[in-house]
């Protein structure tokens, strides 16, 4: 199998990640932050090392690194936790359902409203203007993806964060396709909250994610309350991060793997990974664009403005049928709507979806050549 579905989750994981997970089942399987015996303390030390590693990668403080189940969980914590009643949220028209559904749910519950702002590919001024026009007196937040999970496009997030700051709004960045794939510094970005999965560009196990806060403001309302191993006599959740947002036992084995994944990314560097993976995307785009019957949806993706995600369609068959045919030829892809109906509405593919290709750190130019060859044969109706 040639795995080209890293936008869903990265595979394979580095050997260090697999080994860390296996080791953790023996060495780090106590409950951190609950007991005082050596196994609990050493597990807590490992968990803290992961916070430190994440903080170092994203320019944050370790105590503002919150472990979550995944990026969706992190986004829900940030969006619902910071949205005041009667508030208003602006999100882009490329957002994943991890952003859109919380917004929709808040509107349905009568808690807050939202506006979808159009991203104009290649025209940052138009994009920023669309967000600016959407601001109302009760707007509290802007949420924007750092890279579309359908076409990889990177909106002008720094300018949108600046717009949010200018108007006293919270800025939440969805780094699902960006974390580990490109350099991110939460301070330079200007985001209040950075949300990411541990299992995509950070090469950690599934069941891990991070919510990183730039500061202690604004304090987030909790969505889940429970034991934190701290201030147990107080019925209220602690006010300080990370405990405030980490009730119950964290995924210690997953965090051990995530630590190894972050160390892998830091060794390779996000800059080098981005360059290498975008070279593959460039090869992919060049190859696919020469195949009659293939439809592409963006200009040639370039480092700086795209994550390594590219989607296409074959005119002679639907996206799911094409992905199934390519899976039969040994290629792991995702087709359909990618949990991003807003993005597919943007590209007018809501009825049929697209076939998404997302290389990762372990893909090679030879694999991309083989993939393009397979698509060409499929487009020509050959086996």
């Amino acid at each position: 199998m040639i795995y080209l579905d890293n936008a869903a989750t990265s595979f394979p994981k580095p050997s260090a990640v697999r080994e860390a997970v296996a080791r953790a089942m023996t060495l780090y399987s106590a409950n951190p932050g609950r007991s005082g015996h050596p196994l609990a303390v050493s597990t807590a030390e490992m968990v803290y090392r992961c916070r430190e590693a994440a903080a170092g990668l994203f320019g944050a403080e370790p105590e503002r690194v919150v472990f979550t189940l995944n990026c969706t969980h992190a986004l829900n914590l940030a969006i619902k936790g910071a949205m005041p009643q009667g508030g208003h949220l602006i999100l882009s028209d490329l957002e994943h359902n991890a952003v859109f559904r919380p917004a929709y749910a808040m509107r349905a519950a009568g808690w807050a409203d939202y506006t979808v702002a159009r991203v104009t590919l290649g025209d940052d001024d138009a994009t920023v203007a669309a967000f600016r026009r959407a601001i109302r007196p009760n707007t509290a937040m802007i949420v924007c993806t750092m890279a579309s999970n359908v076409v990889g496009y990177r909106p002008p997030v720094e300018r949108l964060a600046a717009l949010a700051r200018q108007h006293g709004l919270i800025f939440v960045a969805d780094a699902a396709q960006a974390a580990g794939t490109m350099p991110i510094d939460i301070g330079r970005l200007g985001a209040d909250f950075l949300c990411m999965p541990g299992h995509k560009g950070l090469y950690g196990p599934t069941g891990t994610g991070l919510l990183i806060a730039a500061s202690d403001r604004p304090p987030l309302h909790t969505l889940c309350e429970g034991g934190t191993g701290s201030r147990s006599a107080d019925p209220a959740m602690p006010e300080e991060l990370p405990d405030r947002l980490e009730s119950g036992t964290v995924n210690t084995v997953g965090i051990a793997g995530l630590l190894a994944g972050i160390q892998f990314v830091r060794r390779k560097t996000p800059e080098a990974l981005w360059q290498a993976e975008m070279r593959l995307v460039g090869m992919l785009y060049d190859g696919l664009s020469r195949i009659p019957g293939v439809r592409l949806y963006t200009p040639r993706p370039a480092v700086g403005r795209y994550a390594p995600v590219l989607s296409f369609n074959l005119r002679r068959m639907g996206s799911e049928q094409a992905a199934a045919a390519l899976a039969a030829r040994g290629f792991a892809l995702r087709a359909g709507l990618h949990c991003a109906p807003l993005a597919h509405r943007h590209f007018d593919t809501l009825d049929g979806g697209m076939v998404r290709v997302s290389p990762g750190a372990f893909n090679t130019p030879g694999e991309i050549e083989r993939f393009v060859f397979a698509v060409r044969r499929l487009a020509m109706g050959k086996n």
Partner: protein, 76 residues
């Protein structure tokens, strides 16, 4: 030997404090903070050598790490 126990707000802050103090040459160990009347219960503490507690508290204060309580503890 007696050591000074500095109680912190959570295990995360205990770890952060430990790293800070050890970077500055102060030997520490992490332990559960004992329950005491009026405390909110369940917390973690660092122990430092007697005589080093002032330096430790100054470093922690400069780093914005709150010490919630202080006590004495015997080694071993």
């Amino acid at each position: 030997m007696e050591r000074v126990r500095l109680t912190l707000s959570s295990v995360t802050y205990a770890m952060k404090a430990q790293k800070l103090l050890e970077r500055n040459g102060l030997h520490t160990s992490v332990q559960k903070a004992p329950l005491s009347p009026g405390s909110k219960g369940c917390g973690y503490a660092l122990t430092v050598r007697m005589g080093e507690e002032r330096a430790a508290k100054n470093l922690l204060a400069r780093a914005g790490i709150r010490v919630l309580g202080e006590g004495r503890v015997q080694d071993g």
